[in-house]
């Protein structure tokens, strides 16, 4: 197992390198210039030349590329061209917000999607149950997150006034208290901060989670259908096991392997979903930051964000591969 993980990490290095190189060149192939983007209609020839020189963008591309790689190896991603903050610091601030959003929407998607998928598979012959569930799934698939998001905001924030309209809550506070141990010395404050974060997280997680739940339910339905028609299920039934035991003990565990693969993919989908979710709910986060960085041609920031996205996807896939062995003892890694 250890050897396997090590091998995967070694393989991840060229992947990361490839992704970083693609981003580097893609950003520069895109027409448009960060200085023009920054100065807009007031960009004079002279000012543009000054700006280009100050940002080091007048150097030959290969020089910039080597410089970028060399700095990245030292974990120096440079500073945002626009706001001047160090990229690593910026990402460190945004990352937790995106992470909690992705995780919580994954939980929402799993809590809604998996049961719907399973029930819909098991009751596939009773139209009164299967059809409405499938319609819910279809609704989720066809409702864009920005639309659902605005709807949730109008109902739960504007009219019912239960949830806040904007922001990500006091996540900085939570992290700070966890770091310096205040979380345990003054649990009350900590709980209030956590509550604040969750309070801000509920609507975005529901919106993103619900749209993702549709995919999860469709996929878990078909995974369940496949498992339920296997020989060992018939055997289990034949030996007189109750339906509940058949489903939970035999079928559910076996459908976990294909489901885990989905969850791996799912993180990638959820990450792209954060872009719109973070915009609609006005949450700080990596997704929105990346889109703005590309729009402003803020090269270092966009490069940093994509590097982090790539790393997340690599890590999640690795974890998913390792989990296969946990859910299915027949799988071992050497």
């Amino acid at each position: 197992m250890f050897k396997y993980v090590l091998r995967r990490i070694v393989v991840a290095v060229p992947m990361l390198f490839g992704a970083m190189s693609i981003v580097f060149f893609a950003m520069r192939i895109l027409p448009g210039d960060p200085c023009v983007a920054m100065m807009g209609d007031q960009a004079t020839t002279e000012a543009l030349a000054d700006c280009t020189r100050n940002l080091g963008l007048n150097r030959p591309l290969p020089v910039q590329y080597v410089d970028y790689l060399w700095r990245s190896v030292q974990f120096d991603f440079g500073s945002s061209l626009r706001q001047g903050y160090p990229v690593s610091e910026y990402i460190a601030r945004m990352f937790p917000h995106t992470l909690v959003l992705v995780l919580s929407s994954a939980v929402v998607a799993a809590l809604i999607g998996i049961p719907i998928g399973i029930i819909s598979a098991l009751k596939r012959r009773s139209p009164l149950i299967d059809y409405p569930l499938r319609i819910i799934a279809l609704l989720g698939l066809s409702m864009p997150v920005f639309w659902l998001g605005i709807l949730l905001l109008i109902v739960f924030s504007l009219h019912l006034d239960i949830f806040p309209l904007i922001g990500g809550g006091d996540l900085d506070g939570v992290i700070h208290m966890l770091k310096n141990g205040e979380a345990f010395s003054s649990p009350r404050d900590f709980l209030v901060a956590v509550g604040d974060v969750l309070h801000h997280l509920t609507l975005p997680a529901l919106a993103l989670g619900f749209t993702l739940a549709a995919t999860v339910s469709r996929l878990s339905r078909s995974a369940m259908l496949e498992v339920i028609s296997q020989d060992y299920i018939r055997t289990a039934r034949a030996k007189g096991q109750g339906e509940r035991a058949v489903v939970y003990k035999h079928a559910f565990r076996n459908m976990m392997v294909p489901l885990l693969t989905i969850i791996g993919l799912f993180v990638a989908i959820a990450l792209t979903g954060t872009v719109l979710t973070e915009t609609v709910f006005t949450r700080p986060g990596l997704g929105k930051m990346l889109v703005d960085a590309i729009g402003a041609r803020d090269y270092p920031l966009a490069q940093g964000a994509i590097t982090v996205f790539t790393m997340i996807i690599i890590v999640v896939n690795l974890v998913v591969d390792m989990l296969y062995a946990v859910v299915d003892p027949r799988i071992t890694y050497r």
Partner: protein, 537 residues
């Protein structure tokens, strides 16, 4: 014995309940009583890219720095209105000009304090503020507006002498607290270096407290502001990119002031429906076409005239900005700018346009391939309207909608034979005409010139040079009137709409002493006197 699977589900259920309970608790946590008494102003806008007033042209940045910085002069308040081309003393108490018109001596107001204990503002700070821009310190953007300065002398801590290369009619306008005119603390800039953009220190009514990136900027009332502590104690400047969210927030009471991305008829009607008002600050931005007179077929004046006959300006204006949302433009130098005169343009007449095209050898019109237009702001909408109108006379425009940055790049490569453009400048005909009609500003990819004379116009260079030297106000006005007449004659510019800077305000929460309709000038796309805003409870 319960199955392990079932107990896991129970655990999950308990977790979910616990989470929901926490939400409930959080919702019940009330802000402390002290907070309720504080006068807090909540603004929804986009996040600025910097708080160094010399560093950014973004609307939101220019709007927020007006809260924290001041200049030597300011736009005059006359008869309850903020005027456009007259100035009053601000950080300077008085000034004199030498008989030859090249030496300005400013007497500074005594006792003006910088924020955060950076001490009294002195002539050193004034000298430093202008010199850092003239020297083109990396990150500064407006040095070009101070090029007229030859040297700056500190006479004593409260007297500064600025020597110009030659007389400059708009020098006092350049000294207004706007872009290059803001005075920064020398000590603070030297202390923070590159980090100054997020550690701003000015002399304005509010000081910078903190910035949570992608969330908000907090400003606080400066109790040593020379004009007296403002009524508002604290300002939260939220980063809200979506206009829909801003509107929900205004209705809910989360926000008191909105800086929208774009004010549409729909936006305006929603604001009105919820009992809020729109503060319009003219003259604002002008949207207009420049026609490249060196690019075929537009090098033929008949084709340019046909183009103008084909465009129904009123229809575009009414579609984009119905009623009071905008004004039909009447000149290539907008009203409110010194030197403005009304101009006339070929009226909308497709038949005449077709006839002119036929005369010019295009009886069946022509096609413009790969016409680039920005996908942002007003650009795509105005252009598709114009595209439809041009089609009626046989001019087919094949659009390529691109990112805003790409659009800026491509128009400077002269890829579009006519260019749609918008903007606001210092309110005088000189800087305005110099940027858009001076031959020095003709963009040219061969030389790397990225100027904004998209018409490739050369016919008013002599007038611009003369205007810059003229000291007689009336004669200056006459020079710019002549320039506008030449532009009218040569048909290189077709202005469509003058669009004011517009913010939505909840009048039950915030008041301003100026009339919502054009009561204040908006070079900053915002409030010139934020210290006069009042939070009502």
């Amino acid at each position: 014995m319960p199955s392990p699977v079932r107990s896991r589900f129970t655990l999950l259920l308990v977790t979910v309940l616990a989470v929901l309970l926490t939400f409930g608790l959080a919702a019940l946590v009330e802000p402390p009583a002290a907070q309720a008494q504080k006068k807090i102003l909540n603004i929804a806008a986009k996040e600025p890219d910097s708080l160094d007033p010399h560093s950014s042209i973004l609307g939101q940045t220019q709007a927020i720095v007006r809260f924290t910085y001041r200049g030597l002069t300011r736009f005059a308040i006359k008869d309850g209105k903020v005027t456009t081309a007259e100035v009053q003393p601000d950080l300077a108490e008085s000034w004199t000009l030498s008989p030859d018109g090249t030496v300005w001596t400013f007497k500074l107001r005594k006792g003006v304090q910088f924020h955060k204990g950076f001490g009294e503002m002195t002539a050193e700070d004034v000298k430093f503020s202008f010199e850092r821009q003239i020297k083109r310190t990396p990150g500064t953007r407006f040095g070009v507006n101070l090029e007229v300065i030859k040297s700056i002398e500190v006479v004593d801590p409260h007297t500064v002498q600025i020597v110009l290369k030659s007389f400059d009619a708009i020098f006092l306008l350049r000294m207004v607290g706007y872009q290059q005119g803001y005075i920064v603390s020398k000590k603070a800039v030297e202390k923070y270096g590159e980090q100054y953009k997020w550690n701003p220190v000015g002399t304005g009514p509010f000081y910078f407290e903190r910035h949570s990136p992608r969330e908000k900027i907090v400003l606080k009332a400066f109790d040593k502001y020379y004009g007296g502590k403002p009524q508002i104690d604290e300002i939260n400047w939220f980063d809200v990119p979506e206009d829909a969210t801003k509107l929900i927030g205004l209705e809910k009471g989360t926000f008191d002031l909105l800086y929208p991305e774009a004010v549409t008829a729909d936006f305006a009607s929603q604001v009105e429906k919820m009992g809020a008002v729109i503060d319009r600050r003219g003259p604002g931005q002008q949207e207009r076409f420049y026609i490249n007179m060196t690019k075929a077929p537009f090098d033929d004046i008949r084709v340019r005239r046909a183009f103008m006959h084909a465009i129904d300006r009123k229809a575009i204006k009414e579609t984009m900005y119905p009623g009071g949302l905008g004004k039909l433009a009447i000149s290539c130098v907008p009203p409110g700018y010194f030197g403005h005169i009304p101009m006339t343009f070929p009226e909308y007449d497709p038949e005449k346009a077709k006839k002119l095209l036929a005369e010019a050898g295009h009886p069946n019109g022509f096609t413009i391939k790969n016409y680039f237009i920005s996908k942002s702001f007003f650009y795509p909408k105005v252009l598709t309207l114009a595209q439809e109108q041009l089609k009626k006379v046989g001019i087919i425009v094949e659009l390529q909608v691109v990112e805003h940055a790409t659009f800026h790049e491509n128009i400077r490569k002269n890829l579009d034979p006519f260019v749609l453009y918008g903007g606001t400048r210092i309110t005088d005909a000189d800087p305005w005409l110099s940027l858009f009609f001076d031959s020095k500003e003709i963009p040219d990819p061969a030389t790397g010139n990225k100027g904004t004379n998209f018409a490739h116009y050369r016919a008013i260079d002599d007038l611009l040079a003369a205007g810059r030297l003229e000291r007689d106000v009336k004669k200056r006005a006459a020079i710019y009137a002549e320039a506008q007449k030449r532009i009218e004659r040569d048909l290189v510019c077709l202005p469509i709409t003058d669009v004011a800077g517009q913010w939505a305000r909840n009048p039950k929460r915030v008041s301003t002493p100026f009339d919502p309709d054009y009561g204040e000038f908006s070079l900053h796309y915002s409030y010139n006197y934020p210290e006069m805003l009042k939070v009502l409870n």
